[in-house]
């Protein structure tokens, strides 16, 4: 599918389910590489920020200078997709408890908003602009988007709540499309470049 010299998509791999995103991109036939250091941003076509622990990833942003390259990357208009912890890091405001974030997408997001792991669930949601069919959505200790800022489009909902949002080149989901075999969301992201 992709020409052999195509720029790979970067997958942030300091911690989290980066391998599941890699599995999905391989399935679709898109080249990828893991991003752990600032130098790894060179030449990537887009960036995926995976699920995992946002507090752990924040340490790497602050102490290894990984936050600024993400901001610069978004500033250049390059596409970024954050799932779960990735969405929390992209938000302008993260709560429960309040924590630092990159402020690249104007949403307020509440961490662990459904409860603990025993409250994790698989749901069916709608993404009308992306698919005619309901999409299987896996929520793991998931956050909830409590406020959607001006100009942020809600692309997907589950149980009435926004679960997939986009503004410009930044996309965020509170669920994990990488944990299913449904390629819809990743294919949509790949079209953003």
């Amino acid at each position: 599918m992709a020409p052999p010299n195509a720029h790979p998509f970067g997958i942030l791999a300091v911690q989290g389910d980066f391998e599941m995103h890699a599995r999905m991109l391989s399935r679709i036939g898109a080249p990828w590489k893991l991003v752990k250091r600032a130098a790894d941003f060179d030449g990537i076509a887009g960036l995926i920020m995976p699920g995992g622990e946002s507090t752990t990833m924040l340490k790497f942003f602050a102490e290894e200078g990984l936050g600024q390259p993400v901001k610069d990357f978004v500033g250049r208009g390059q596409p970024v997709f954050g799932t779960c912890a990735g969405a929390i890091l992209l938000a302008t405001e993260a709560t429960n408890p309040p924590q630092e974030s990159l402020g690249l997408l104007d949403i307020t997001i509440e961490r662990n908003a459904y409860g603990r792991q025993v409250d994790s669930s698989v749901r069916r949601g709608e993404c009308p602009e992306l698919s005619d069919h309901p999409i299987q959505m896996v929520f793991i200790r998931a956050p909830i988007i409590r406020r959607v800022g001006e100009g942020v489009r809600v692309l997907g909902r589950a149980d009435g709540l926004p679960v997939l949002v986009q503004k410009g080149n930044v996309i965020a989901s509170t669920f994990h499309p990488e944990l299913t075999d449904d390629e819809t969301i990743h294919r949509y992201f790949l079209l953003q470049r």
């Binding site: 791999a13 300091v14 911690q15 989290g16 389910d17 980066f18 391998e19 599941m20 752990k36 699920g51 995992g52 622990e53 507090t55 752990t56 340490k59 790497f60 290894e64 779960c84 912890a85 429960n96 408890p97 961490r111 662990n112 409860g115 603990r116 792991q117 025993v118 994790s120 669930s121 698989v122 896996v138 793991i140 200790r141 994990h176 944990l179």
Partner: protein, 295 residues
């Protein structure tokens, strides 16, 4: 053919989220906070760290529910807790208070010497220790959603974790070279469920994440087990039995992420103070080996 249902997808899903991270043993809320601030991706609540269990003896049980709840209130990362092997009532209690993962652990005194917990009916996911592929597949057959090498907990000695990791990854590689008609004989030798043997032969890995535990005390130890195929690290006594827990915790977190970059692992190894003293596992009597608990 073995496959996940939706519940198993959620259980394995949380294990996926922990990959590349460090899960730290803690005995109170204060230690849990130190672990979270150092970048731990989860904490494991227990009554005493393995080194103290080994020293003090007596029956080691599930931690006090009061302390586990205090730990849950203190941190926003997942909180795991240990239950005794076969003690399904302890596991039910841990699920009831909202533990994010239950470790059916050989570090505690076994409650049942014949049977492990039937883990499928629980909503909370389980992690179990294993020394070889057969043991790993038996636990997965019972419903475990994550495997960790047993190593030798509380020893500060990486030798057993390495042995178990090499045993599991080596046996997986050998399994992928067999012809289909050889799978059943191999299942018989491994004493493992046939459908799981088939899954591993066809996929070349375990159907659930494989983490490492039992003896990790330094950043280089973390790098070693990650290079040998572990997908994340559990660190027990190695942190809070060292001279500067916060610093060592942070260094092990960083070394786990950058395990394949020796320059960064070298940076992580500087000025850490004293590591836990550790013991020569070869000098332990068979009855002192925690890894022999469970089958």
């Amino acid at each position: 053919m073995w496959e996940y249902d939706e519940q198993m997808k959620l259980k394995v899903g949380l294990a996926e989220m922990l990959k590349g991270g460090v899960i730290m043993d803690v005995t109170n809320a204060e230690q849990a906070k130190i672990a979270e601030d150092a970048g731990a991706c989860a904490v494991m609540a227990l009554e005493r760290v393995p080194a103290d269990i080994r020293k003090e003896g007596g029956v080691a049980r599930m931690a006090s529910t009061k302390i586990i709840k205090e730990i849950m209130d203190a941190v926003s990362i997942p909180v795991m807790a240990k239950a005794r092997i076969g003690h399904f009532a302890e596991a039910q209690v841990l699920e009831a208070i909202g533990a994010d993962y239950i470790d059916e652990s050989e570090v505690l005194t076994p409650a049942d010497e014949e049977h492990h917990i039937h883990k499928w009916p629980f909503k909370a996911p389980f992690v179990c220790g294993a020394r070889n592929l057969g043991e790993a597949l038996r636990r997965i057959g019972e419903g475990a959603a994550m495997i960790r090498t047993k190593g030798e907990a509380g020893s500060g000695n990486i030798v057993e974790a390495v042995r178990h990791l090499r045993a599991i990854t080596g046996e997986i590689r050998r399994l992928t070279t067999l012809r289909e008609e050889e799978w059943m004989a191999r299942a018989k030798e491994l004493q493992a469920p046939y459908d799981l043997v088939q899954w591993v032969a066809e996929n070349g890995k375990l159907p659930v994440p494989n983490f490492s535990a039992g003896g990790i005390a330094t950043p280089a130890d973390a790098s070693l087990v990650m290079q040998l195929g572990a997908e994340a690290c559990f660190v027990g006594s190695g942190i809070f039995k060292s001279s500067d827990p916060a610093k060592r915790a942070k260094a092990i977190v960083r070394a786990t992420t950058h395990y394949n970059d020796p320059k960064i692992v070298a940076e992580c190894s500087e000025e850490l103070g004293e590591a836990m003293k550790g013991i020569d596992v070869a000098k332990l009597k068979p009855e002192e080996l925690l890894q022999m608990r469970g089958w």
